[in-house]
Structure formats: structure tokens, C-alpha cells
Amino acid sequence: MSRIALYRVLAVAIPAALIEAACRAGWIDRQTLPAPSEMIAGLAAILASGRMNGAILETLKIVLAAFAGSVVIGVAAGAVIHRAPVARRLLEPLLSTWYAVPVYAFYPLFIVMFGLGDRPEMLIGLMLGVVAVIAATLNGLDSVPPVLVKTAQVFRLGPMRTALRVTLPYAAPHLFTGIKLAVAYSFIGVIGAEFIMSQSGLGYEIRYAFDNLDNAVMYPLILLILAVAVAVNATLDAWDRALRARRGATS
């Protein structure tokens, strides 16, 4: 293991060990925070019993839908806006201030429109994720050297093929940044919405456990969400690095 990787593990392990010690010594009240080892054991028990499988699948399904929607709509919209300078000038201030908008303010409206269920939660995730992908697509397309676009013209590619075979592949590292953000935002949006108001899903289960002072469920589920988010992001990071290394430092 490299030195830096060791430090990274220690950065997590040392605080966890300190909390563990503090819990066991009774300095931290168990009703406030159970020991990390209890959380892990609780999570293992919950996963083994399978009683949360429905909630886990439900949440992952909605997150996946929000993420896929963000990427497909975001890349397509980014590519279209890039080709329409007027639309871009109109939309750019909106895009850059988007994240100042508390998207959850729209959640009640979505519930009124679509009813309590998957769709309002998915929409919140989508609203958070799609703008990151649009911004990343615009950045990426801006970075394409004009000579590659000319090359596409020389090979007589139309606008669609130029986008699919030249400009978007060139922009891929930028797109990847947007895709990673979209994963994070989809999780945040969906679980947040479930937490605020819903009838199922991981966010709902955490909220339910919280309302019932059920630490044996609440903390393991929080741990589960952390683990899933870190695992997904680390996987994407590794893939991103492999792709970038292959392309090297060419411009």
C-alpha cells in the first residue's frame, strides 16, 4: 500500500477508533451515538435479515432513474445549447445561479402534480443532477480544438455524427466530471426527498427510525448510504483516471 493510501485509511480509522473508545468508556451516550462497531454489526444484521432490501432497491432504482435522466437530458441539452449561441447567452446566467435555488422548495408542488411516490423524488434528483451535466457538457465542447471540427467536416460528417464521433468523445473527461456530480446530486436529491416526505425508501426508513428513536436502525442505514456513495464515487474516479492516463496530456 502506498504511503498516501495508508494515510487515507488512517484518516478514517483513527477518528473511528477514538469514537469507539469514547462510546465504550461511556463518554458518549449510547442514545446519542452508538459505537461504530455496533453500527457495522447492526448493518450486517439488517442486510442479512433482508428486511430493508425493498427500501434499498426502491431508493437505488429512483437514484438510477434520476442519474440516467440527468446524463441523457444534460448531454443532449448541452450539445444543443452549444450550437445555439443566442440560447446560450439567455440560459447561461440561469445555469450559473441554478444551485442557489433550494430545489426542495418545489417538492410540495411536485407532490401535488404527481402524487406522493417515485416521480416527485426522481424529479428532485433530476433537477439537481441535470444542470451539472449541462454545464460540464458546455465546458467540454468549448475545449474541443477547432481543427478537430474541421477534420470532421473533411470526413463529411453531419452535425449529429460530428457530436457523437468527435466533439463528445473529445469532451469525455469534462463530461465525466459532470457525471460524477450527477451521481452525487441524484443520491442527495432522492434520499433528501424521501427523508422529507415519502412512504418508502432508505430516506424514509431513516426518518422513521429517527421518529421512533430507533438508533439500531438509523445509524446502520446512514452508514449504508455513506458506503454506497463512497463506493460509487471511487469506482467512477478509478475509471476516470484510467481513461485520462490513456489519453495523456495532449491538448
Partner: protein, 267 residues
Amino acid sequence: MASGPASASAHVRLDGVTRVYSGKGGGVHALGPVDLELRAGEFFAVVGPSGCGKSTLLEMIAGLAPPTEGQVQFEGKAIGGAVPDGVGVVFQENACFPWLTVAENIVFGLKRQSVAGDEVQRRLQYALQLMGLEDFSKAYPAQLSGGMRQRVCIARTLVTQPRLILLDEPFGALDQQTRLLMGDELLRLWRATGATVLLITHALDEAALLADRVAVMSARPGRILEVIETGWDRERDSRIVSDPAFGAVTGRLWSLLRDQSLSALHP
């Protein structure tokens, strides 16, 4: 020494081609009017001072940019708003696709044309061998030197079997020795394909060495001052540089260009 190619039919024809870039305060007259004929199968070079519109000329012949006035014809047909079939272009900048291997870069243009799989492989192998890239077919452009990337771009153009190859200062970013050797490769390629070649360059020696005819352009707005026949054999290579006739051609080009370059330097 034999003179240029025997077939004197016009492969490319420019009539009163002018380019004005519109802008605030009336626009910039970049080029023209230019009248020019390229014969089928000849190696034609254009030299001129920097900023004289050489690259603009190439873009209009390629169909990448429309002339403001005048007309460009390729094989008897006027060029509209698109690059005609049968034209290949190699640019000065690195135009390799960084996410594709050398082999994938080279066959890029063949996917649009309906070329059979084994024919694609045959042309790929031929281009790899002609450009000395056999050992690098699975490498990515980032792993190659500038000269090798430019060879990838030439190979990528070559496999589409263009009848007209346009080269926009393709060796501009390379060192002098590499340029001379790439020039030899270009001459071999030109003889092997029988294509008409138009080379844009600012290097007088490169033009004098490679071309059958060299057009000298004026400072902006670029016009053709004179077209010089070099009179080289078709079977020639960079050893021409030690021929006294080479010095004479280069000297003639420089005497035409000197005043133009000065006026480009001190407008």
C-alpha cells in the same frame, strides 16, 4: 530534367476568388482576387508572407469556407458549402483524436465510406507501412512525438484515397531534419497515389524542394504574384538541396518574396 506532369487538365480551378472577413468598420480584405489552375497529378506549393491568406486559400479550395466572391471548381464542379468527395486535408495543428489508437485514428474516415472490412485492413496495413507506424498501431497519440502524430494524420487522409490532398503547413511544428525526411515521405506518397497535392508553406526551401510549381503570394490581401516551374524529375528526393538548380529556385522565390515579407513585417 523533365518538366511537370504531361496531363494539363485543370483538376482545381479558381476564378476571381476573394475573401473578406466581415467585422466592425468594414471588414478585412484577406485574400484575392486569385485565379489559379492546378493540373491533375501535380505537386503544387503556395508560399507567402505570414498573414497573406494562404490558409484561407486552402480552406476555400477544401470547401471548409466559402469565398466572398468568385468560384472554386474541383473536377469541373463548383464547390458548395461542403467538402467534396475525393478531397483530403492535413492541418498544421495536431488533429489526431486522442481517445483513439493510431490504427483507429487511421481508419476513422473509412467508417463513413462503405469499405469492406478486409479492404479496410489492407489499406490500414499499407498506410502503417508507408508511414513507418507498424510498431505503433495500438499506441495512443499522447505516446507519440509530434512528427509521428503528423504521420498518423497523413495516413488517416491517405486511406480514404483522395484525388486531391491539401496540406496546410503540415510540418510547421517539426524540426528541420524531420521536415526534410517527412518531405521525402510526402514525395513517395505523392508518386504512389498519383493524387494532386497542394502544399501551403512559409518555408521557401520546402516549396522549392517538393513542388513541380510554386505560387508566390503577396502580402495581405494575398494575390498570386507569380507561378514558378521548378522543373524537377518526378523521381526526386531531399538530395536536391545540394543541386545548384535548387539554390537558383530558392533564390528566385526569395527575391520575389523579400519585399512582400518586409511589408508584412512593417505594414
